[in-house]
Structures are given as C-alpha cells and as structure tokens.
C-alpha cells in the first residue's frame, strides 16, 4: 500500500466524475427531492416525518453510493483497466481505498446537504446534535461504497450489478427498523436484522433524533457500521485477483 497511489486513484475517480456533471447532480439532488416528497406526504400527519426522516437520511446515501460504486468498479473490470492496473505496482487496497476516499468525499457533501435541508427547510425535528446525523449518514455512505465494491466482484454484467441493489440493499431497508421497530419483529427476523449493518445505522439515527445527548449505545452503533465497512473493504481486496486461473 502507498498513500501516493491511493491518492492518485482517488483523484482519478473524482476527475472521471467531473467529466459527468449530471451524475454528480443526481447524487446530490435525488435524496433532497425524495426527502422533500416524504415531508410533503406526511404534511398533515404529525410526528411521522420526524420519525422516519432521520432513518431515511442514512438509507439514501447508502443506496446511492452502493449503486454508483458497483457500476464504477464493474466498468473498471470490463474495460480492462483493472487488469492493466493489477500488472502494475499498485496495491489492491490502494485501489479500493482510492474509490472509498473519493466517493466518501461526495458522501460528505451529500449527507450534509440532505441533513441541513431536512432540518431547516423541511422542518424535521431532531433532539440531538445535527453534526452527529451527518457523521452517521457519512458512515453509511462509506458502507454503501465498500459493499458496492464487494458486490461488483460477483457481478459479470451491468444487469447483474444492478440486481444486487434490490437483492442486498432492500432486505436491509425492510428489516432495519424503518417499517416496524426491530424489537417487534418475529424472533428469526430479529436475529437476522441484528446481523445487518443498516439496522445499527438506523438505530443510531433514531437515538440522535429522540435523545438530546449522545449515549454510549449511539457510539457503539456507529462503530458497528464502520466495522462492517472495514470488513467489506478487506473482503473486497480478497476478491481482486492479479492472476486468472
């Protein structure tokens, strides 16, 4: 691993995105529009947006980053640039961390925008500190990036890569506590939910929105999400092969 090669990769990924301003606009605007739509839907029903808004603040960056990363990595494989890079002196982690860094940077902007707009324009009420919502949303975006990197290793075509979104992301969104509190799920599902990273992200978000101070449990939630991200990046590196059989 070398910081120079990691940073060069991350700069290269950002430059690729700058040549595609529409994608950048979509990354930033789509979550804002969806959150606005929800705020509007629940306009006449009190407390609902305050309840689900914070959870969605971490689900949207997760989904968007998962999709973008899995497609970007798949393109790297199919264009042959991955094979070329792996015959050069670049570490597998240089490549993965380079991607995670550049998409993480986008995620900071996306998470900050979505949080600030939800609170100050859509009128979402949050008891705890705003900055912590942004941190959890960012951690979730990084998790989406690393899971996307990992998932793309198992996709041969773009069609497969896109299918991984409903296959890997939707079950997490259904079980994470957004629809019903995790504690009320049937026992088996409760166990499954406890093994999924998004559950911890949503738990952290709902704690920050209800509690005025940050509890130990909230920090543990955050650490769990980041550990999943780290695990995904290490597994992702293990799936990159310099040699084919």
């Amino acid at each position: 691993m070398s910081p120079r090669r990691t940073l060069a990769t991350s700069r290269r990924v950002l430059m690729q995105l700058f040549h595609d301003p529409r994608t950048i606009a979509l990354i930033f605007v789509v979550p804002l529009v969806l959150l606005g739509l929800l705020a509007w839907i629940y306009n006449n029903i009190p407390f609902v947006f305050d309840h689900i808004g914070p959870s969605l603040l971490c689900i949207f960056p997760f989904v968007v980053m998962f999709l973008i990363t899995s497609i970007a990595t798949l393109r790297e494989r199919s264009s042959g640039t991955l094979e070329r890079l792996l015959t050069m002196p670049i570490g597998k982690l240089d490549l993965l961390l380079g991607y995670a860094l550049s998409f993480g940077l986008l995620a900071i902007i996306q998470a900050t925008l979505a949080t600030e707009v939800s609170i100050h324009i859509y009128g979402m009420h949050v008891a705890g500190p705003e900055w912590f919502l942004i941190i959890v949303a960012l951690a979730d975006a990084v998790l989406g990036t690393t899971l996307g990197l990992l998932a793309s290793a198992f996709a041969r075509t773009e069609f497969q890569a896109v299918q991984f979104m409903p296959a890997l992301v939707l079950p997490q969104a259904l079980l994470c506590g957004l629809l019903v509190p995790v504690a009320t799920l049937p026992t088996a599902l409760h166990w499954i939910a406890n093994c999924l990273p998004l559950t911890y992200a949503v738990d952290a978000m709902s704690r920050v929105s209800r509690q005025t101070t940050l509890t130990q449990r909230t920090y543990i939630d955050l650490i769990v999400v980041l550990s999943f991200a780290l695990l995904a990046i290490l597994l992702g590196a293990a799936t990159l092969r310099r040699q084919t059989k």
Partner: protein, 237 residues
C-alpha cells in the same frame, strides 16, 4: 545484460477445460522484435497474459527478465497493451497518462514524451471516449511506453490504424529495439508479420515455428509468412 528476456519452458495453460497453451517452449533475446503470429483462438492472448503475469500457468515455467512471470519486481518493468484499449473513456489523454505515471512512480515529464511518440499532441485535452479507434489504441500504447520499460508486450497494437500511422509506429518499435528494448507483438494479420525480424508462429496452443523470418522462409521455401504458415499448418495436420 541478461541472456534472454523471455524463457518459456513447456508452458501449459488449461482454461475452462480446454488447453489454451500446450507445452510451449521458446526463448527471446533482448533487443529483438518478435512477431507472435497465429489465427484468433491460437493462444496468442493467453501467452501474452501469461508473460505479463495476468494468467496463471497450469504447468511449465516462464522466466521474464530473469524473474518468474507475475513477480512483484516485474510490475514496473513491462509495458503491456491489451487487445482492446484499457483506458478510461471519461478522462482526457493527458489525465489517463498522468494517472498511470503516478501509479508507476514516473515523473510527469515522461507523459509529454510518450504523447509525442504516439503523435497525439493535438488530442492531449480530448476525452478518450470521443476519439477514433486508432487514437484510443495509441493512448493505450502511450501508457505502455511510460517509464521506457525493458520489455513491451503489445497485443494487436496496429489493428485499424491508417497506413501512414502504422508505418510511423513500426519505425518507433524499430528504434526501441535498437535501444535494447525487447518487443513481443501479436497479430493475426500476416502482413504485420512481414515487418518482424523474428517470428513465433502459434496454432491451436502449440508453437509451429520460432526463429528469424529469413530462416523460416528459406526452410519452407516460400516468399511470404502467409505461405510459410499454410505449409507448416498443413504439415501439422
């Protein structure tokens, strides 16, 4: 100076149940241009990928620049051009080269040099995705030239280029060889083969012939590589 740049001994590669390469043995001396010639499906790309370390051998041994193929120490010493250009379409020529230069740990001044060598000065700021096939192939070639590697492995580098440009690139290959660089250039086009002083003919994963072109033509009593190939392939059946 090492004895041989590439030494292959009984290299066999089995891919998905079929033998892509069967007991391939040859040696390539430094400073030579060797044409790797054979029809599509003959194992050219598998052999090239083995030399650059992207393909694992099923059996046999392959030494490249005195190291086993795929060794870490080879990663900045081989320039590799894949059949379809392995470049980033959503970056400009220069951005592509600057990125690969930084991965190889090479000064940015080298980027300007390789852009001149492949004649892309007018396209430095152009997005690679908007270029013609020939221009994209040259961007890919320029990346392989970064750092002036001792060994260049080129998989069909001049396919689809206009004749004037092809002539220029062959002149470039010649001057690289005179400076002691070794080139292995694959092609399925026989008239490309005529330009290579040395030839490695491949068919069905086996070596049909290896050596100087002149010797091949004398031995088969023919005047073109095409006819020599036909005669050898006929004899093999």
């Amino acid at each position: 100076m090492q004895d041989n740049t590439i030494v292959a001994k009984r290299v066999t590669v089995v891919r998905e149940g079929t033998k892509a390469l069967a007991n391939v043995s040859f040696e390539i001396a430094p400073g030579k241009i060797t044409g790797l010639i054979g029809p599509s499906g003959s194992g050219k790309t598998t052999l090239i990928r083995s030399v650059v370390g992207a393909q694992r051998l099923t059996a046999g041994s392959l030494q490249v620049l005195d190291l086993a193929a795929g060794s870490k120490g080879l990663r900045s010493r081989i320039g590799y051009v894949t059949q379809s250009p392995a470049i980033y379409d959503d970056l400009t020529t220069r951005q592509n080269l600057v990125y690969f230069a930084s991965i190889l740990g090479i000064a940015k001044s080298d980027v300007t040099r390789v852009i001149q060598e492949v004649d892309l000065e007018k396209q430095t700021a152009q997005l690679v995705g908007s270029m013609s096939g020939g221009q994209r192939a040259r961007v890919s070639l320029a990346i392989a030239l970064l750092g002036d590697p001792a060994l260049l492995i080129l998989d069909e580098p001049t396919v689809g280029l206009d004749p004037v440009l092809r002539e220029r690139l062959w002149q470039l290959f010649g001057s690289l060889a005179r400076r002691g660089r070794t080139l292995l250039i694959s092609s399925h086009v026989m008239d490309e083969a005529e330009r290579c002083p040395d030839l490695l003919l491949l068919r069905d994963g086996k070596v049909l012939s290896h050596g100087p072109k002149r010797a091949l033509l004398d031995r088969t009593n023919t005047h073109s590589v095409q006819n020599a190939f036909l005669q050898l392939a006929g004899g093999a059946q």
